[in-house]
Assembly symmetry: C2
Homo-oligomer: 395 residues x 2
């Protein structure tokens, strides 16, 4: 199915130690949605995960995502797709982006509509050669060089016509992520590690996950896709023609006076579907998906147990039979008999944890959460319960 | 050693269902000291336990103590002995008391000095027949009738010359309290259940406590003493003459212009000693202490595990696989997978506890505490650690 590499486009290859050049014609697309319910009350519907500095780095997850991509795209070649509610905050956090590069969705229509809209707008603006890479706004990655190497190889494979995903080297048999299985090598010039994707799997149980890792062929599917915009839209036309046509109609009007009218008319009827189901799985089955190994640290910051692993250990407590990570003012936290306790101080109060190892305590102006790392996934139940009580002010 | 009952004084005896009369010549003394460190951050040095409504009753522990004693003493016959720092707050909480009935100590000199001062002042003001009953300001008692019955019997025994303690029926082999052992009955008219005190013991280990209870002779020593002021001071003169003389000198000047001068000169040199060690133990060994059984519920509210047992279970949570007590706004508390979690909401925020059964969460304007009932005694370590860090503002 994929065509041969496009000889007319050049791919800059990083020399060790040199600052690499941006990739000609490469555009990043950042779908910025999802409230991060399991990070409540730090993350709220009105102040979602991607708008927060969750690692104490001084940059929000969204800003860090753009920082990571800028060396690859060059200036101005980043599109953020987000809800109307968050468009202003996104623009404020990314003053260099330019208002035209924030695409505001009238309502959530899942990842296929978000990324498909971006692809169609990029095609309108930049023409047929444009390659896009889609990267979530709320993941954490360590290892910029390895990330950039993987993306550069992915772009080579994308120019060859593939839908390319980056398969993350698993650090353990996680049941929280889907997996992608690598097949035969593709022998692409300038992209030696790219392989055919033999298929995707949903989140497995622990036994299955362990079996996956034992084969050496499975990697985590982090939802990173690199593909020519035209190729993506061709696949979409084949799989979901109505969604394709709707997105193309919207994109044709996006930079024109008709945008609002077309959006209001077309957007509400768009099919809600994830890009994995719409494109990645069926196209992989047809041999059209490639996988690039990504040997960098990656985390989707899915809950407080995950977040606890990403922030550095805190202030050495005088009470001190154990320490733990603090997000916020470490001097305001005291652990006594509570090794590994993770504390988020977001409202200036002191927090003392006594005799609760691996506690998770999140202090915000209107809500205090107390749980443990082992129960981090259960935080969603608390959010649901507050909603059931009619406390939408807390969500 | 004790004299015969004083025939000239009458003791009103409660008829079932009737409102009993006050006891002629009986005065309550309430030593109000101690910060209640193990109830931090609810209790603070500047806002100690006895000034707080810890049970959600609408009355502070001090107010409830006075309420409980008023039917026995009648109006105006209550003295509170407290530190200078708290004298104003005490007077505000007890507007009916009268300023002369708040004795302000320049500095803490332990319970013998506090109660001895009150005894000496009462002797000056009311003469030789006065009987005092000393009751801590920060304990919780349920069962007013049983309490009053015990005190009335204790007064009879006090008029017979005994130092009388009330021995609380133990509900279990607690290691948190001292014990008093009951000896032979005293056969006093109007006080049929009074027995000689065979001795006091310090807080035992669990095995010893169980052995105590198996004998049927041991009761909890709640630090309640009823005694003629003159008898108490005689014992004090015999045991600690310098302390006796100092207190008498201060008392003689208390209601006179010389008070401040005498206090400033004498108070700093007073011996620091608890009344148990100064009087109860040596006098019991000499046969001068009696014990009245107290068959009411008593709690010294020594830590959050104790307090958790005193407040009613909270709001039925929708997340609901378990409920627990709330001090504060129960509608602001959510328990999910956390049966028995005890939450104190003292600053209007919501508190969500997820997957931590028997958690203790105390939310105050400047400090959040997270522990469990099993670690309630360890809260002192957190207070010590904040002190070590120089955070006296939190103490």
């Amino acid at each position: 199915m994929p065509s041969q590499p496009d000889e007319s486009s050049s791919v800059a290859t990083a020399e060790p130690g040199a600052t690499p050049d941006p990739i000609d014609g490469f555009h990043a697309v950042i779908p910025a949605g999802g409230a991060g319910t399991r990070l409540w009350p730090l993350s709220r519907a009105g102040r979602p995960k991607f708008l927060l500095d969750l690692t104490g780095s001084g940059r929000t997850l969204l800003q860090a995502t753009v920082d990571r991509l800028a060396p690859l795209t060059g200036d101005g070649n980043v599109l953020v797709v987000t809800g109307e509610r968050h468009a202003e905050a996104v623009a404020e956090q990314l003053p260099g982006l330019g208002g035209a590069n924030v695409l505001a969705e009238p309502s959530p229509r899942d990842s296929m509509a978000a990324i498909g809209l971006a692809a169609a707008v990029l095609l309108e603006r930049h023409g047929d050669d444009v390659v896009l890479g889609s990267f979530a706004a709320d993941h954490v990655i360590a290892g910029a060089e390895a990330f950039q190497r993987a993306v550069r190889e992915a772009v080579v494979a994308a120019r060859a016509g593939y839908v390319v995903t980056i398969g993350i080297a698993a650090t353990g048999p996680s049941t929280a992520f889907g997996y992608v299985r690598a097949g035969a090598g593709l022998d692409l010039a300038d992209a030696p590690s790219v392989r055919l994707a033999a298929g995707f799997t949903e989140k497995p149980d622990a036994e299955t996950a362990a079996a996956y890792l034992a084969t050496g062929e499975y990697r985590w599917n982090a939802g990173m896709f690199v593909v020519r915009a035209a190729v993506l839209l061709d696949h979409l036309r084949a799989q979901l023609p109505a969604l394709h046509d709707g997105l193309r109609e919207i994109a044709a009007a996006w930079d024109a006076p008709a945008r609002d009218e077309v959006l209001a008319r077309v957007w509400p009827g768009l099919t809600r579907i994830a890009i994995d189901h719409a494109i990645a799985e069926p196209v992989a089955a047809a041999g059209g998906v490639a996988v690039v190994p990504g040997d960098f640290d990656w985390d989707d910051v899915g809950d407080f147990a995950s977040l606890a692993g990403l922030v550095p250990p805190g202030f050495a407590s005088d009470a001190g039979d154990g320490d733990g990570p603090t997000l916020g003012d470490a001097a305001a936290v005291l652990r006594s008999g509570s090794p590994g306790a993770f504390v988020v101080t977001a409202d200036g109060r002191t927090v003392s944890v006594v005799g609760v190892p691996d506690a998770v305590v999140v202090d915000t102006p209107d809500a205090v959460l107390v749980t443990t790392r082992a129960h981090a996934q259960d935080v969603k139940a608390a959010v649901d319960a507050w909603r059931d009580r009619g406390r939408d002010d807390l969500l």
